[in-house]
């Protein structure tokens, strides 16, 4: 049976007094991605007690942020694995705002005159980062559970452990001569993981075969 993976729904925070929120919504709809968009007219609403705790992405216009842009960027700048990908929309002539953005790797800047293509790119990026974080957590949780189980097994505290399916993995790269597999075996192992990932995401074998760029028959044969 095919199951879609359990993933958190991305939340986009938009701080703007214009139509940025609508543009983000249109992009998400065109991608078929279910996401929540939370619109705010000022930075203080975001940083206030009832504001969001985190987000998959933040899109802010300098016109709405004003002098509080710095505080908002501080809100996004967290531990490396929790930073909020951020897009600041302003005028290239706004040197004060540009200075606040400089040196912050997770923050992108676009000029108001070229919003369309770059906003699209940013939304793609933020969704992928959100998915990556979700899968990363799932892999780490699975690894921790397996480690605990095998150590209990080692000390005979349990007789057996039944591992759950978990998200698909590619083969680890060898770190010593002894670990090298033949190219054929390693590639086959990788492809099995890739096929599982596609089936998991697509929800049906037909959609998975289209995503993988192979025929339904070929997918069926490979899965067997």
């Amino acid at each position: 049976m095919v199951h879609r993976g359990e993933k958190s729904k991305p939340v986009f925070v938009v701080v703007d007094r214009g139509d940025l929120g609508d543009k983000v919504k249109a992009i998400l709809e065109s991608l078929g991605v279910g996401a929540d968009i939370r619109g705010f007219a000022s930075v203080l609403e975001v940083l206030g007690e009832s504001g969001p705790k985190t987000a998959a992405g933040l899109i802010v216009s300098t016109a709405a942020a004003g002098p509080f842009l710095q505080d908002l960027l501080r809100w996004t700048d967290r531990e490396q694995t929790d930073q909020v990908p951020t897009l600041v929309v302003g005028k290239d002539s706004d040197e004060q705002a540009l200075e606040m953005v400089l040196g912050k790797e997770h923050v992108r800047w676009i000029d108001v005159s070229e919003i369309e293509p770059r906003l699209n790119h940013f939304v793609h990026l933020a969704i992928e980062v959100n998915d990556l974080r979700s899968f990363h957590d799932a892999h780490e949780a699975m690894a921790a559970q397996l480690r605990d189980a095998r150590m209990r097994l080692f000390y005979a505290e349990i007789e057996h452990f039944q591992p759950s399916e978990g998200p698909p993995c590619g083969p680890p790269l060898p770190t010593s001569i002894e670990e090298i597999q033949s190219l054929k075996e390693a590639k086959a192992q990788f492809e099995r993981g890739l096929i599982r990932a596609a089936v998991r995401e697509s929800g049906s074998l037909k959609d998975a075969s289209a995503a993988l760029g192979i025929s339904y028959t070929s997918l069926w044969r490979r899965m067997r």
Binding site: H139, L153, A156, H160, C169, S176, E201
Partner: protein, 234 residues
């Protein structure tokens, strides 16, 4: 040997593309060979010959459980260092080495006093399952690391802060979410490039790399030309 693994573990290994084949590495324990062979089949018993060979086997990705003389088991445990008990399950046999409590403290999983099938078989099964769970754990950790790397790249952190211990190209993680590329040919080629690159770093020459990869030198050279890679150490 696979019959010693419960079906749930065997299926989990297969699902992740990992081998469910297991082996018993024997060192300094010839007297127990017939018994081990009768449990797992003679073709699954591997003579390790030296302590170094055992340490290498323990660090390899193959599914091993070790049966060793007590004294040798203590030497292998010392060779594996402080984390011996997190790497491989060792079963010590015979009474010529340190006491059982010391062996356990060194990382030996079990000390077999009664060399019978009834006593040995569950220990082999436990050791093999331990190793299988370790293989699954490593697969998840490596995937998590590749995912983290991709995340950092996307967020905008410079690549020099993300190099791995061997400082070689890492393959992309498996695709996640609706935005990723899933094209089999494209993504598999990226993996193949990374795999060949890593093997080249581990080998002294292109010829040796080809041998380990089980492809001809001409095939490897052709693939490298296609990818525009140089040949490390050739």
């Amino acid at each position: 040997m696979t019959a010693l693994l419960i079906s749930e573990v065997e299926n989990a290994l297969k699902l992740q593309g990992l081998s469910a084949e297991g082996f018993v590495g024997l060192l300094d324990a010839d007297f127990i060979r017939p018994l081990v062979g009768s449990i797992v089949g003679p073709d699954r018993v591997i003579d390790l010959k030296t302590v170094d060979a055992a340490v290498r086997a323990a660090r390899s990705s193959a599914n091993y459980v070790f049966v060793m003389g007590a004294k040798t088991a203590s030497q292998v445990a010392a060779g594996l260092g402080a984390d011996a008990n997190s790497i491989v399950a060792m079963i010590a046999v015979g009474g010529d080495g340190p006491p059982a409590s010391s062996l356990r403290a060194m990382g030996v999983m079990s000390v077999l006093v009664d060399a019978t099938e009834a006593a040995l078989k569950p220990l082999l099964a436990r050791g093999l399952e331990f190793r299988a769970l370790r293989a699954l754990e490593l697969a998840h950790r490596c995937e998590a690391r590749r995912i983290h790397r991709r995340e950092m790249e996307l967020v905008g952190h410079p690549p020099e802060t993300m190099t791995d211990d061997l400082n070689t190209h890492q393959p992309p993680p498996l695709p996640v979410g609706p935005i990723s590329a899933y094209n089999l040919e494209e993504v598999s080629e990226a993996f193949e490039r990374a795999y060949i690159d890593r093997v080249q770093h581990l080998c002294d020459s292109a010829r040796e790399a080809a041998q380990y990869l089980d492809v001809s030198a001409a095939t490897l050279a052709r693939r490298l030309r296609k990818e525009g890679n140089g040949v490390n150490g050739a």
